[in-house]
């Protein structure tokens, strides 16, 4: 903490220091370049693994959207895949049913529709908290999945949407066999989304979300329109999740109702918790590690993978409550204070 040695500091100095600290907190740190350097480096080091890289970036975006509502606002949801699915299906149905495969416009439409889905469901669900909310969000995803299954004449059901055809990006760039085009496209979008989310998180609105997470009773008592704030955050997060889903559908040219699975909602939450909630970069660390482990372990042995991820979660809960990044932070503090705390 910036003020750990404040005992002897006169109030005037402390005042100046507080103004300085709080006024600069939102500025970028040097280390924040690291994930972006890694994302860029991966492109050059593993040029033939970009299909996988693309999926990692999508997972990061998905986890980042969850961080906004779970990590910052403290909304515990088990149905976040609903919005990923809405985004994916918007893209899929646009091309398969309306013959519209233009990536950028369909991405925008998918994002808006997912955000609308977030707004509507959030308006009703966010009056509840805790276990009730958990069940209701879970039910929302299942309802959407069932609706898709009921109209499998349109959606293709669990076999996937047939005949998806995504056009060239900007009418020029074909998605090559190695997924390089989409890697760059998605990396740029991820960066933009990240800038927006980061901006929101450091805004007064973002502070209010943190306040709701920390103590909702107090927020009511100081006059915060809690429901409105939650719905706003939920809408934004749903839009971003939908964008991730749309990018998934575009990059793979494939979508099935499996995207709405409970497993998908649980997976993104595990990713975020592994990386660390409420710190933006937890989504990057968690999603990357999860995807890498899944890629390696699941190939080796599917049972071992299930066991492995379970073990990882147990270890995280036991030794790294605040996720991997929280652990790194704690270790940093430990060495700084010479092991006193």
């Amino acid at each position: 903490m910036a003020a750990s040695d404040a005992n002897a500091v006169p109030a005037v100095t402390m005042r100046a220091r507080a103004i300085e600290y709080i006024g600069k907190r939102h500025r970028f740190h040097v280390w924040e370049a690291l994930p972006w350097i890694l994302i860029a480096a991966a492109y050059f080091v593993f040029p033939d693994r970009m299909t996988f890289g693309t999926q990692v970036l999508i997972a990061i975006m998905f986890a980042l959207s969850l961080d906004l509502i779970l990590g910052y606002a403290g909304i515990v949801t088990l149905g976040h895949a609903a919005f990923f699915g809405v985004g994916a299906y918007t893209v899929a149905l646009l091309t398969a049913r309306l013959n519209w495969g233009e990536p950028v416009t369909s991405l925008i439409i998918a994002t808006l529709i997912s955000a609308a889905a977030g707004f509507i469901s959030g308006w009703f669900l966010l009056r509840y908290r805790g276990l009730t909310l958990l069940m209701l969000t879970l039910a929302t995803a299942i309802l959407l999945q069932e609706a898709g299954n009921y109209r499998s004449d349109i959606t293709g059901g669990y076999d996937g949407v047939p005949g998806m055809e995504i056009w060239k990006l900007f009418g020029v760039f074909e998605n090559d066999l190695y997924g390089r085009t989409y890697y760059i496209y998605i990396a740029v979008l991820l960066f933009l989304v990240f800038l927006v989310v980061r901006r929101i998180v450091y805004s007064p609105f973002g502070a209010a979300l943190t306040g709701i997470r920390e103590n909702v009773r107090r927020m009511h008592a100081i006059g915060s329109p809690v429901h409105r704030r939650l719905v706003a955050a939920y809408t934004i997060a749903a839009g971003i999740a939908g964008m991730a889903g749309a990018l998934f559908a575009q990059s793979t040219a494939y979508t099935t109702l499996g995207v709405f699975d409970f497993e998908s909602s649980a997976k993104v939450m595990v990713m975020l918790i592994l990386g660390g909630t409420g710190r933006l970069y937890g989504a990057f660390a968690g999603a990357t590690i999860y995807m890498l482990l899944e890629d390696h372990l699941a190939k080796l042995s599917p049972e071992f993978w299930q066991f492995g991820i379970g073990l990882l979660l147990v270890l995280a809960v036991l030794f790294a409550r605040r996720g991997l990044l929280g652990l790194i932070e704690d270790i940093g503090i430990y060495f700084k204070t010479g092991g006193k705390s």
């Binding site: 003020a3 006024g23 609105f205 009511h220």
Partner: protein
């Protein structure tokens, strides 16, 4: 037509079979200094919850400056000028002291509707927050996380947040509860020096404090107003002694 700052009329509320508020009538004039006393479990905190809208009454009404607010949400009541402190701290424990106060100002001024400007860069808000902290001698702790503070200083943050709401009506629920007496003086001095225009209702078990601070006292017993009056009358009232003061002298409160 100067309506009272706060007027509670025939307020009732039950938890199951337990009637925690029975036909409560209570008025706070502008700038009132009223104490609310009564044995443990009398329903004092419940009354605060009913006034702030944290709880809905089963019948009765609450009016703020003559306007009926019985149906108004808790947050809207806060925006219209009712602030309270909690008997048990309700703070943003993982945030700094400064951020706790800035939050209250941000919600009061509507600044928290802003999704884009970095928080903490609006000097006028930070300066106001630091002024509130200054009056409670909390500036030196402004960058500490609330959970790192001793309980007594956390109690001060409770008051700082309430002050940052710039209330017209302030409800203090045992502001010095759980604080060593060496530090409780600071809290009670602060309370005594609050803006004389604010109508204040204080729940307090320490009779010395009550008799020193209050111009009127309301005694609540088993959810009903037992009696009310000036401190000297309450002090002289044998029945109050029997239900409350005598018990207080014997057992004390936690």
């Amino acid at each position: 037509m100067s309506a009272p700052a706060l007027e509670v009329r025939d307020l009732n509320r039950s938890f199951g079979a337990l009637r925690v508020a029975r036909d409560i009538n209570l008025t706070l004039e502008r700038g009132a200094r009223r104490a609310l006393i009564g044995p443990n479990g009398a329903g004092k905190t419940t009354l605060v919850n009913l006034i702030t809208g944290a709880l809905a009454p089963s019948s009765g009404s609450v009016a703020l400056n003559g306007e009926d607010i019985t149906k108004v949400s808790q947050a809207e009541r806060a925006r219209r000028g009712i602030a309270r402190t909690f008997q048990i701290n309700q703070l943003f424990r993982g945030l700094t002291v400064l951020e706790n106060v800035v939050m209250a100002i941000g919600e009061r001024t509507g600044d928290c509707n802003n999704l884009w400007r970095p928080a903490g860069t609006k000097r006028i808000i930070i300066d106001e927050a630091l002024d509130h902290l200054d009056s409670l001698r909390l500036v030196e702790d402004s960058l500490k996380l609330v959970r790192e503070l001793p309980y007594g200083r956390q109690r001060l943050v409770e008051i700082a947040i309430a002050m940052a709401q710039k209330p017209r009506v302030l409800l203090l629920d045992e502001p010095a509860a759980g604080v060593p007496s060496s530090e409780s003086h600071l809290i009670l001095d602060v309370v005594a020096s609050l803006d004389p225009d604010i109508a204040i209702l204080i729940i307090e078990h320490d009779m010395d404090v009550v008799f020193r601070f209050a111009q009127q006292i309301t005694v609540l017993v088993a959810g009903a107003v037992f009696t009310e009056g000036a401190p000297k009358d309450i002090r002289a009232d044998e029945r109050v002694r029997a239900v409350y003061l005598g018990q207080d002298a014997g057992a004390g409160h936690g």
